[in-house]
């Protein structure tokens, strides 16, 4: 989207994720417009997006409040992400071309280097990890799947501080990615799907344990 709307989205989202607006807080358009330094119009756009992503909920009559994610809801989100992203991996395995595969390899090399550094470079890991998954979704060539996944991916990641990732977790992720690349190279959809399912499920448990 566009400048002011994106800015409002990012601002409001970080308000929620940083805990400045705890669950249950009422969010009003005027107040948010003030905070973000834009008018109500882009704030409304941002609120619609955040509502679709369940960051905020509406009361019986249209007032908006910060949503409260239960543990069960986070688990359900990981389940859905696992289903959908496994499906994306299966599609990608059947459709990926040499160029995209090479990009994945390169991406995972940077990720692996970040993990194996004397002091693991978590920021780079997160950035490359995100790119890796985005490339798979792109290779799946399903606009609808991409739209849905965009609304649920990467959400809980933000809540974790970088320090909470153990070196073993990071290494395991890099290993999973390498195996995914193998599955893609073999164009084996079932393999890719299975590896991705385990990859996401492990992320869920790592997330739960770190909480």
């Amino acid at each position: 989207m566009s400048r002011a709307s994106d800015q409002a989205y990012a601002n409001i989202r970080s308000l929620i994720l940083a805990g400045d607006a705890p669950p249950g807080t009422q969010l009003t358009e005027a107040q948010l417009a003030d905070i973000c330094g834009v008018s109500r119009t882009p704030v409304r756009d941002a609120l619609r997006r955040l509502e679709a992503e369940l960051y905020i909920v509406r009361s019986d009559s249209q007032r908006m409040f910060v949503a409260d994610w239960s543990r069960e809801e986070v688990g359900e989100m990981f389940t859905l992400r696992g289903m959908l992203e496994s499906h994306a991996a299966a599609r990608a395995a059947a459709r990926i071309d040499a160029q995209a595969l090479a990009n994945l390899v390169e991406c995972n090399q940077r990720l692996t280097a970040a993990v194996e550094a004397a002091v693991p470079d978590v920021a780079t890991f997160l950035a490359e990890n995100r790119r890796f998954h985005e490339q798979i979704i792109a290779a799946a060539q399903s606009p609808r799947l991409a739209t849905i996944l965009a609304s649920i991916v990467e959400q809980p990641v933000v809540r974790r501080t970088a320090a909470r990732y153990t070196r073993a977790e990071l290494a395991r992720s890099a290993h999973d990615h390498a195996e995914l690349i193998e599955a893609f190279a073999a164009h084996d959809s079932d393999w890719a799907e299975a590896v991705m399912a385990g990859h996401i499920r492990r992320a869920f448990h790592a997330f739960s344990a770190a909480k």
Copy 2:
């Protein structure tokens, strides 16, 4: 949502589904505001929703056009719906209570009556079918799943005229529903999931054949 916004949404959507705005047609906010008899503000809201549901796509720079759904994309939509709604059925089987189950039974009785009438009452069938699936999604108790499914369910149905449903198809649907109810009554998630997967998959082929 609210009056004008919903009206704009419904109007624009029916323009697209009825073929009055064929794929590739450019949609401008001003023109749509004129057609719908509302101002640009609610039209913009409606366009965002339709964009999220992939009814419309944006060009490189923000102009909007009616999307063209390929056969493959329709198939992918059914696949996603099958995955997600099967998952919903599994969750519902584990969570449904006696009251919700009774509502499902009642709903399917009305549906079955509509099917078995001398002249099948397709309008009632469609209405009850929709309610049946909505009740299952509600029983699944997953706000996120409900949000996602709301954006992909019932879309292709509208393209079919009532006359294209054969009596055999309608009866088969009623039978599937009855088996789903059995699975729910037994609280057997695997059973419910399997029946729902077949139910959606069959709907896809019926849709394809009727094209």
